[in-house]
C-alpha cells in the first residue's frame, strides 16, 4: 500500500510542479493578495478631507478650527467663503466633513451662552462618517471643557480647584495603535488558505475526470483509499507551506506581532485543513467539469469568508445569520489566528475552537470520502 501511495504522491507533485503556470498560481496570487490586503484593507480613519466655513473670524473660532487641524484625524484643506461651496464640495466628494461656524460665535461664547457648531458629513461611507462624527464630538467636548474651565478660572478660581471630574483612560490591548493591518493580516492567512486548498483539491480530481484519466487510474491496482489520500495529502502539505509563506510576509514585511505559540497555530491550521480538504473533495464529487467546480467553490467560499468574521463583526449580523456562522470552519480558524498572533493565548482558551474544527473536519471529510468512493464505483 505504501508503495502505491508513494507512486500516487509522486505523480500528483509532478503534475503540480511541472506546469510552470500552475506553480505560479500557487505562489503568486497568495503573495499579491497578502500585499494588497495588508496595504488596502483598512478601517482606520485619518486625514479625513475637511473644509471649513468660518463666518465669525474670531480668536475663538480660529482656536476651535486649529484643534481640528492639530489632530491626525482631520485634514483641514479648504477655507470656504460661502455656504453654497459646502454643497458643491461634498457633492463632488472633495471633502467628507465640513465645519460651519456662524457669525456671532465668539459673542455667544463670551456671554456664557451656547454657541452652535454646524457639522456636515458625507454619509456615503457610513463607517467613515460614524467614526469621524465621534472625533468631531470629542474635539468639541474638549474645547467646551477648556472654555468652561477658563471662564471659571477668571470668575471663581477657588471653585475650579474643587471641581470634580471623571476622566476616561482607554487602553486598547493587543493592538495599541488600533492598526487595521494587525486585524486583517492574520485573517488573510486563513481566508487565502481556504481558497487555495478548496480550489486545488476540487480541481485536481475534476481535471482527471474531465480529461478522462480517472478511468485509467481506476484500472490500476490503486485502492480508493490510496487514491483519496494521494489526492489530498499533497494539498495538505501545500496548504501548510502556503500558510507559512504568507505568515512570514505578515510578520517580516507588515511587522504584525506573533505573540503565541507556533505549535498551537500549527494545530489550528492542520485541523482547518481537514475541513478545507473535505469541502474540496465534496465539491469534486458534485462537479463534472472544472468550470462547474470553480463555480461551486466560489459559491461556497464567498459566504464562508463573509460570515467568518474576517472583516465584518459577527455580533452585528442578524441573529439567524449568526447561528449559520457556527457551521463555518473559517470562523474558528480566525479566532485561533488572531488569538495566537495578537493575544498570545494558548490552548487553554482556544480549545473550543480546536474542538469545533476537529468535529467539522471529521464530518466533512467523512461525508466526502463516502460520497467519493461511491462516485468511483
Amino acid at each position: 500500500m505504501l508503495n502505491r501511495l508513494r507512486q500516487m504522491l509522486i505523480k500528483e507533485f509532478l503534475q503540480v510542479f511541472r506546469d510552470k503556470r500552475a506553480l505560479w498560481v500557487l505562489i503568486g496570487p497568495p503573495i499579491i493578495q497578502m500585499l494588497i490586503f495588508g496595504y488596502a484593507a483598512s478601517y482606520e480613519i485619518r486625514h479625513v478631507p475637511t473644509a471649513v466655513l468660518d463666518l465669525d473670524h474670531s480668536q475663538e473660532s480660529r482656536d476651535l478650527i486649529a484643534r481640528f487641524s492639530a489632530t491626525p484625524y482631520f485634514d483641514v484643506r479648504t477655507q470656504l467663503t460661502d455656504r453654497e461651496q459646502i454643497r458643491e464640495m461634498i457633492d463632488r466628494g472633495q471633502v467628507t466633513v465640513a465645519l460651519e461656524i456662524h457669525p456671532g460665535f465668539a459673542a455667544l461664547l463670551r456671554k456664557g451662552q451656547t454657541a452652535p457648531l454646524q457639522v456636515i458629513v458625507d454619509g456615503t461611507n457610513s463607517n467613515t462618517a460614524l467614526i469621524a462624527l465621534g472625533y468631531v464630538n470629542q474635539i468639541a467636548q474638549g474645547y467646551a471643557d477648556d472654555h468652561q474651565r477658563d471662564a471659571m478660572q477668571r470668575s471663581s478660581p477657588f471653585l475650579l480647584a474643587r471641581l470634580p471630574a471623571v476622566e476616561l483612560e482607554s487602553r486598547p490591548w493587543f493592538n495599541p495603535n488600533l492598526e487595521s493591518r494587525w486585524f486583517f493580516v492574520p485573517g488573510v492567512i486563513g481566508s487565502l488558505l481556504q481558497v487555495m486548498v478548496i480550489v486545488l483539491t476540487a480541481f485536481a480530481v475534476v481535471r482527471e475526470r474531465e480529461i478522462g484519466t480517472l478511468e485509467q487510474i481506476m484500472v490500476t491496482p490503486i485502492r480508493p483509499r490510496e487514491f483519496i489520500l494521494g489526492k489530498t495529502l499533497p494539498f495538505f502539505l501545500i496548504g501548510l507551506f502556503d500558510a507559512g509563506m504568507i505568515g512570514l510576509v505578515g510578520t517580516l514585511w507588515f511587522q504584525v506581532p506573533f505573540r503565541g505559540s507556533l505549535a498551537v497555530l500549527a494545530l489550528g491550521l492542520m485541523l482547518f485543513l481537514l475541513c478545507a480538504l473535505g469541502i474540496g473533495l465534496f465539491i469534486s464529487t458534485v462537479s463534472a467539469t472544472q468550470q462547474q467546480a470553480m463555480v461551486t467553490a466560489f459559491f461556497f467560499i464567498m459566504p464562508a469568508i463573509t460570515f467568518s468574521g474576517f472583516g465584518f463583526p459577527i455580533a452585528s449580523m442578524p441573529r439567524a445569520v449568526q447561528w449559520l456562522t457556527y457551521l463555518d470552519p473559517l470562523r474558528y480558524l480566525l479566532v485561533v489566528l488572531r488569538g495566537v498572533y495578537l493575544k498570545g493565548v494558548g490552548l487553554d482558551l482556544l480549545w473550543p475552537q480546536m474542538a469545533a474544527m476537529a468535529v467539522l473536519g471529521t464530518a466533512l471529510l467523512g461525508v466526502s470520502v463516502l460520497r467519493f468512493r461511491k462516485s468511483l464505483d
Binding site: G123, T128, S316
Partner: protein, 376 residues
C-alpha cells in the same frame, strides 16, 4: 464580418450556458445570493458591543456610571467581574470586547474635588469595533462627568452654566448612517466582475483545454466573430443581472435611489464591456481553466472588492496603492454607483468617471482582439 456566423457562435455559447446547470445557476442565483450576503452579512455599525464591568468601589456613584453603560444601545453588559484576572480572562477569551474598571476611590475623589479616572480596557484585535467602542465610552464618561459637575455647582449654590458648544451634525446622502446603503450599491460592481470576467475567462480556456478550439479554427469563423459571439450572451446576462440587483437594492434593502436610470444603465454597459474584455484577454493568455479562473479572480474580483472604495475608503490607503486604484476600472464604477444611488448624480456630474470607463473599454477591447489569434 458576418452577422450570421456571429449569431451562430452566440447561439452555441448560449446553449452551452443553458445546458450547464451550474453556469446557469451562477448567472441566475449569484446576483441574488451576493446581494443577500452583503446586505445582511456586512454591518460595520456595531451595536450591543459585549462588555464586562469591574466595579472596585461598589458605591452609589459608581453604579450610576455603570448604569449608563447598561442602558446604552451600543453596549451590552455581559458580565460583572470582581477581580482583575477575571476581567483579563473575559477579554482574552473574547467573551467581552471591553472591560470598564471603576477605581476603588471613585466617589471619594469626586467628593474631594479631584479627577477620578475610569479605565476602559479594550480588545483592539478588531480595530474598527475598538475605535467605535472607545468613542461611545468617551461620550458616556464625559456626559457623566458633566452631570457630576453641574450637580456639584448646584450644591454650591451656583447657577448652572450653559454648555458652551452645541454640535449640530447633519449627515448627507445616508442620513441614518446605515452600512447597508453604503455597501449594497457597490455589490453590483462585484456581481458584474464575476459574471463578466470570471465566466468569460473560463469559456475560451475551456475550448483550448478540451481541444474544441481546433474545431472552431477549422471553420470559416473569424477571430472577431468568435470573440463577439462568445461575449454577447454574457453582455446581455450581465445587464439583466444589474437590473435585478438594482431592484433588490431598492425594494428589498430600501437603499435610496436618487439618480437617473440612464446614468446607471450607461455606466453598467460600459463596465460590462470592460470586465468582459479583460476576462477574454485573461482566458487567451491563461489557457488552462485553473490558471484563467485564478488570474481572473485576482485581476478583477479582488480589486473590485479591495481597491474600488467598495468597502475601504481610498482616501485612507498609502499613496502607492492610491495610485494603483486609478487603473482599477471598478473604482470608477463604484463611485458612479454610490453617487447615482445616494447622491442623485446624473450623467453630467459623472463625466470624469464615465470617460475613464470608456477609455478602459476601448483599450481592453483592442488588447483582447489583438491577443486572440486564430492559430495553434
Amino acid at each position: 464580418m458576418s452577422w450570421r456566423r456571429l449569431m451562430a457562435v452566440a447561439r452555441k455559447e448560449l446553449i452551452q450556458i443553458w445546458r450547464d446547470s451550474r453556469s446557469l445557476g451562477i448567472v441566475l442565483v449569484m446576483p441574488l445570493a451576493m446581494m443577500l450576503l452583503f446586505g445582511y452579512g456586512v454591518n460595520l455599525d456595531m451595536k450591543h458591543i459585549p462588555i464586562c464591568v469591574f466595579d472596585r468601589e461598589g458605591s452609589q456613584k459608581s453604579q450610576d456610571l455603570l448604569k449608563r453603560f447598561q442602558s446604552s444601545d451600543y453596549f451590552e453588559v455581559v458580565r460583572a467581574v470582581d477581580s482583575y484576572p477575571a476581567l483579563v480572562k473575559a477579554i482574552d477569551s473574547g467573551q467581552a470586547r471591553m472591560g470598564v474598571v471603576v477605581p476603588h476611590d471613585f466617589s471619594e475623589r469626586l467628593r474631594t474635588g479631584e479627577t477620578a479616572t475610569v479605565q476602559a480596557i479594550v480588545d483592539a484585535t478588531d480595530d474598527n469595533t475598538a475605535n467605535l467602542a472607545i468613542g461611545y465610552t468617551q461620550a458616556v464618561v464625559s456626559d457623566f462627568s458633566q452631570r457630576v459637575q453641574l450637580d456639584w455647582l448646584r450644591q454650591q449654590g451656583r447657577p448652572e452654566p450653559n454648555p458652551p458648544l452645541a454640535v449640530d451634525a447633519r449627515t448627507w446622502f445616508n442620513e441614518d448612517l446605515e452600512s447597508k446603503a453604503f455597501i449594497v450599491p457597490g455589490v453590483l460592481a462585484l456581481v458584474m466582475s464575476v459574471i463578466g470576467a470570471f465566466l468569460t475567462s473560463l469559456t475560451i480556456a475551456r475550448e483550448w483545454e478540451r481541444g474544441s478550439m481546433e474545431q472552431l479554427i477549422s471553420t470559416p469563423v473569424t477571430p472577431l466573430e468568435i470573440m463577439l459571439g462568445k461575449l454577447a450572451p454574457y453582455f446581455v446576462i450581465g445587464l439583466l443581472n444589474t437590473a435585478v440587483c438594482a431592484v433588490i437594492a431598492i425594494w428589498w434593502f430600501e437603499v435610496p435611489f436618487r439618480g437617473s436610470v440612464a446614468a446607471l444603465f450607461v455606466s453598467s454597459a460600459l463596465f460590462m464591456v470592460v470586465v468582459m474584455a479583460l476576462g477574454f484577454f485573461i482566458s487567451v493568455i491563461g489557457r488552462s481553466q485553473l490558471a484563467a479562473s485564478q488570474i481572473a479572480l485576482t485581476a478583477t474580483f479582488l480589486p473590485a472588492f479591495l481597491l474600488s472604495g467598495f468597502l475601504f475608503s481610498i482616501d485612507q490607503m498609502p499613496a502607492v496603492i492610491r495610485a494603483i486604484t486609478h487603473v482599477v476600472p471598478a473604482r470608477y464604477f463604484v463611485t458612479i454607483l454610490k453617487d447615482v444611488f445616494l447622491k442623485g448624480s446624473g450623467l453630467s456630474m459623472l463625466e470624469g468617471e464615465l470617460l475613464a470607463l470608456a477609455l478602459f473599454a476601448v483599450a481592453l477591447t483592442l488588447l483582447a482582439t489583438r491577443s486572440f489569434k486564430k492559430k495553434l
